[in-house]
């Protein structure tokens, strides 16, 4: 029983870590502010859930599980509000989102790509 639990826990923690890593890579890799927010969303939702489930299986006591579930619920309620505030602030300050054509251009002149996305 113990072995099964810690194996399951390791499985969930591993998936969570991979998703966190993917989120980080996405934040570095995507071309502009708005697309980077989507990558951060991965870390906010499924990665956090997986890691918290892994932690619940580490120590299956009632109080611990309830606390972790509360943390999970709080994250799921708070993170969209934070993302929305970020996105709206960017939109209100007229930061133009990159659309398809511009990304194709970026790919062509990939050396100047980073500069263009920052300006």
């Amino acid at each position: 029983m113990e072995g099964v639990l810690s194996l399951l826990s390791a499985f969930f923690l591993l998936i969570g870590s991979f998703l966190c890593l993917s989120g980080g890579v996405g934040i570095l890799r995507f071309p502009d502010f708005y697309t980077r927010m989507h990558a951060a969303g991965v870390t906010d939702t499924l990665a956090a859930t997986m890691i918290l489930i892994g932690l619940m299986l580490q120590n299956p006591e009632m109080l611990v599980i309830i606390k972790l579930i509360l943390i999970l619920l709080m994250t799921l309620f708070i993170s969209p509000a934070a993302s929305h505030a970020l996105g709206q602030a960017a939109a209100l300050n007229n930061l133009p989102p990159l659309v398809n054509v511009q990304i194709k251009d970026l790919e062509k002149g990939s050396a100047s790509g980073d500069k263009t996305s920052k300006s």
């Binding site: 499924l46 109080l63 398809n100």
Partner: protein
């Protein structure tokens, strides 16, 4: 008055779940902090006016489960595009309609959109939601109105 009692009960349950220590000193401190919170809420006059009653209905777990499924699927899509690279993404901004009538319903819809990776709500004015999507198919899926009608159904159960 009814709301103040229910607020106290909710706070007590919340405190007990978070504490896990049950000696007299800690219990007294917990009771004192709950009393102060209820007193402040009373002085601010928020309890009986701005409270949002919790309606229990079967629609909540049903919507929750559906939303979790959507979040998992959307996460996998975004992760796929992260590793496939920038050539595969097609960022789009579009204004879509929300059919909900109450403010809470609209907020639930907008938050559900933001919660699923790949779509972020940039603004909400009256019944129009501005959405930024990582790939165009996400916008098409939103425009098909599946999530919209599910939130509306949730809203009607109140």
């Amino acid at each position: 008055m009814r709301h103040k009692i229910s607020l106290s009960i909710i706070l007590i349950v919340f405190w007990l779940l978070n504490s896990g220590h049950y000696n007299y000193l800690i219990l007294a401190l917990g009771a004192a902090s709950i009393a102060i919170v209820v007193l402040i809420a009373h002085r601010m006059d928020v309890v009986d006016h701005e409270s949002q009653t919790i309606h229990l209905s079967l629609e909540y777990p049903r919507f929750g489960l559906w939303l979790i499924k959507e979040i998992v699927v959307a996460n996998l899509t975004v992760v796929k595009h992260i590793w496939l690279g920038n050539k595969t993404i097609t960022p789009t901004v579009k204004v879509i309609k929300a059919s909900q009538t109450t403010d809470v319903g609209k907020v639930i819809y907008a938050n559900s959109i933001t919660l699923t990776p790949g779509t972020v709500t940039l603004g909400l004015v009256n019944d129009e939601i501005m959405v930024h999507a990582l790939i165009q198919e996400n916008i098409v899926a939103l425009e098909s109105g599946d999530m919209d009608s599910r939130v509306s159904r949730l809203e009607q159960s109140w």
